[in-house]
């Protein structure tokens, strides 16, 4: 009975046989799961527009308007931008004059430190990965393994020798120090990622370039690098997300001037004995999301191609 449509197919779940677009049932299911994943972020964004009383309200006020009376009044809050302005300047004493909170500086620090160290790690790591891939040392795998060992321990364990080293050489609290540290910590990941991308390339193409007159440098820049752009994008985004959100090293190794947003956030929201300032916290987090969100969105095409690279052979 070819014409019989099963209950599940009627709901939009097409049979698993055959390749093509998914039915709307699958699409809907995926949308719901995605929403569950996105919900915490969504709540943070919504909360950033609420005043402290509304942020703490039970049941939670989730909607900025009543949508022409559709939503009961108790779930509706009145959106405000106050949290966002007080991220950058606010009165520390009730009724006092507004003071700068220094968050413009902290945002600059976060962007500067994260992007510099991830880019540095990308440059060094890509070159190193190419070396490991094309000019293997004796015991190549051992070196790759050793590179990864610092990432095998919890950061809290590694931080103790690192603090001692930084104190001795006077790098604690400086930009150079934290950038070096993040670069070093991004390197293993970058090398491993990029090596696997280089390993996937067809060596014939490089040989052809050599015969066609390319030097080794040109082979790397003109032939290999354009083929791993997707990998570079993927590695950059993953590295950026890890570095952007890093808290522990930043807490212990940045000074007043070099403080990053995650650390500053922690200190800003402890609202002088009146509990956590949820609205303010949410506003900082919302702002904090934007750069990574933009970069990821921009590189998404590359990123998605990048992470699935190599699953299909030629």
């Amino acid at each position: 009975m070819a014409d019989t449509i099963s209950f599940w197919e009627r709901l939009g779940f097409r049979k698993a046989s055959g390749v093509g677009e998914a039915g709307w049932g699958h699409t809907l299911l995926t949308a719901i799961i995605s929403l569950i994943y996105f919900l915490p972020v969504l709540i943070i964004i919504v909360t950033s527009f609420k005043l402290q009383t509304e942020a703490l309200a039970v049941p939670p006020k989730l909607f900025p308007t009543s949508f022409f009376g559709l939503i009961p009044e108790q779930f509706v809050f009145s959106p405000t931008l106050e949290n966002f302005t007080s991220v950058f300047s606010r009165a520390y004493v009730a009724g006092g004059a507004a003071e700068s909170t220094g968050f413009d500086r902290f945002f600059f620090n976060s962007i500067f430190i994260a992007s510099t160290s991830v880019l540095l790690a990308l440059v060094i790591g890509t070159l190193a990965a190419y070396g490991f891939s094309r000019y293997p040392l004796k015991g190549n795998d051992s070196y790759l393994f050793i590179i990864l060992t610092t990432r095998m321990l919890p950061a809290i364990v590694v931080i103790i020798p690192v603090i001692l080293m930084f104190r001795v050489v006077g790098l604690a609290g400086s930009y150079v120090g934290i950038i070096l540290l993040y670069t070093a910590f991004n390197l293993p990941f970058t090398i491993w990622m990029m090596k696997s991308f280089f390993d996937e390339l067809a060596p014939d193409v490089e040989d052809a370039a050599r015969i066609d007159g390319s030097s080794e440098i040109r082979v790397f820049f003109k032939i290999c690098l354009p083929q791993v752009l997707a990998g570079l994008a993927a590695t950059f985004v993953f590295g950026l997300i890890l570095t952007w959100n890093e808290f522990l090293f930043a807490l212990l190794l940045t000074g007043v001037d070099t403080r990053t947003v995650p650390v500053a956030m922690n200190q800003a929201v402890a609202g002088g004995g009146i509990g956590v300032l949820w609205g303010l916290l949410a506003a900082i987090e919302t702002l904090f999301l934007i750069p990574v969100f933009l970069v990821t969105f921009f590189l998404q095409n590359h990123l998605l191609r990048g992470v699935t690279f190599g699953t299909v052979k030629r």
Binding site: D207, D212, K222
Partner: protein
């Protein structure tokens, strides 16, 4: 002077000997095919000539100059790879023009040359496309175009037709042959397809386990195989190898028994060769089975 010469070249990978004491010389305008089963060292030989592998011992001489220490780009060669090895990030025209980047010629001259070879190989319509957007046959022709655009001293082909379907392979064989005969350069083609070797080559070098077993014209290797391996490798259907039993000596002649028949042979071989075309099969009891089954024993083969 377009010549290629390999003198006693050997390649070792650790304990494994990929090529052992291979001697090969290719004159200008001559096409030599390296033929052999997979893993016999023919591609390694080619890569050593190209400079992509260093020789462990022996000399590579191209155009009369010893090239052992020179990197591939300094050997003035062009190579077509089995998987074409087109540059994925460049379009077809740029792919073809790549070898010209190091020649000191103007952009117009470069374009002129690219268009000329594109015309020869019927690629003019796809010059703007990316390698991923052309057919398999076009990829193959792009690879050939890239090889001939610079007019190098000699050509190396690594299984150039193995990825094409039968029909395309046939027409490409003709095209490559024509292009090569117009250029009259020394050419080495690696292949495991004997039909390709027999039709394209002036001479064939048959390799096994890193050793060149025989070098000769297609006719020579077909009619006078140097040993059992060559005899069994060349020819479709395969040559019949009949095992015999040495019964005894009769002066300088050996008495050998094939099946029920006794045959006298000049020396002392364990095998002889028998081509299908030389056998007549008769029905019924033959008055002389010797004349129908073993009509003529030719020069005996050296056991390999």
């Amino acid at each position: 002077m377009s010549t290629i010469e390999a003198r006693k070249i050997t390649k070792r990978f650790g304990d494994f000997v990929a090529v052992r004491d291979a001697d090969l010389s290719v004159k200008a305008g001559e096409v030599v095919c390296l033929l052999g089963p997979s893993g016999c060292g023919k591609t390694t030989t080619l890569r050593m000539i190209a400079g992509l592998e260093r020789v462990t011992s022996g000399d590579i001489i191209i155009g009369g100059k010893r090239m052992n220490e020179l990197s591939p780009e300094k050997r003035d060669i062009a190579m077509v790879f089995q998987f074409y090895a087109l540059y994925p990030a460049l379009n077809v025209a740029d792919n073809i023009a790549m070898p010209l980047h190091y020649e000191k010629i103007s952009k117009t001259e470069r374009d002129r040359r690219v268009h000329r070879v594109a015309e020869i190989l019927h690629l003019s319509d796809v010059l703007d496309r990316m390698p991923g957007q052309v057919s398999e046959g076009e990829k193959q022709r792009i690879a050939v175009a890239r090889a001939i655009v610079r007019e190098p001293n000699c050509f190396l082909f690594d299984e150039p037709l193995s990825r094409l379907d039968v029909e395309l392979r046939h027409s490409m064989r003709g095209q490559i042959k024509e292009v090569l005969s117009n250029l009259s350069k020394a050419t080495v083609i690696v292949t495991h397809d004997q039909l390709e070797a027999l039709t394209m080559a002036d001479r064939i070098a048959i390799m096994r386990d890193g050793i060149i077993e025989q070098i000769g014209t297609p006719h020579q290797v077909f009619t006078k195989p140097a040993n059992v391996f060559v005899a069994s490798f060349i020819g479709t259907p395969q040559m019949n190898l009949v095992k015999g039993k040495l019964e005894g000596m009769n002066g300088s002649k050996a008495m050998i028994q094939f099946g029920g028949e006794k045959v006298e042979l000049e020396v002392n071989p364990a095998v002889s060769k028998l081509k299908p075309s030389q056998v007549t099969l008769a029905s019924g009891p033959a008055p002389s089975r010797r004349s129908s089954v073993v009509p003529r024993i030719r020069s005996p083969l050296r056991p390999s």
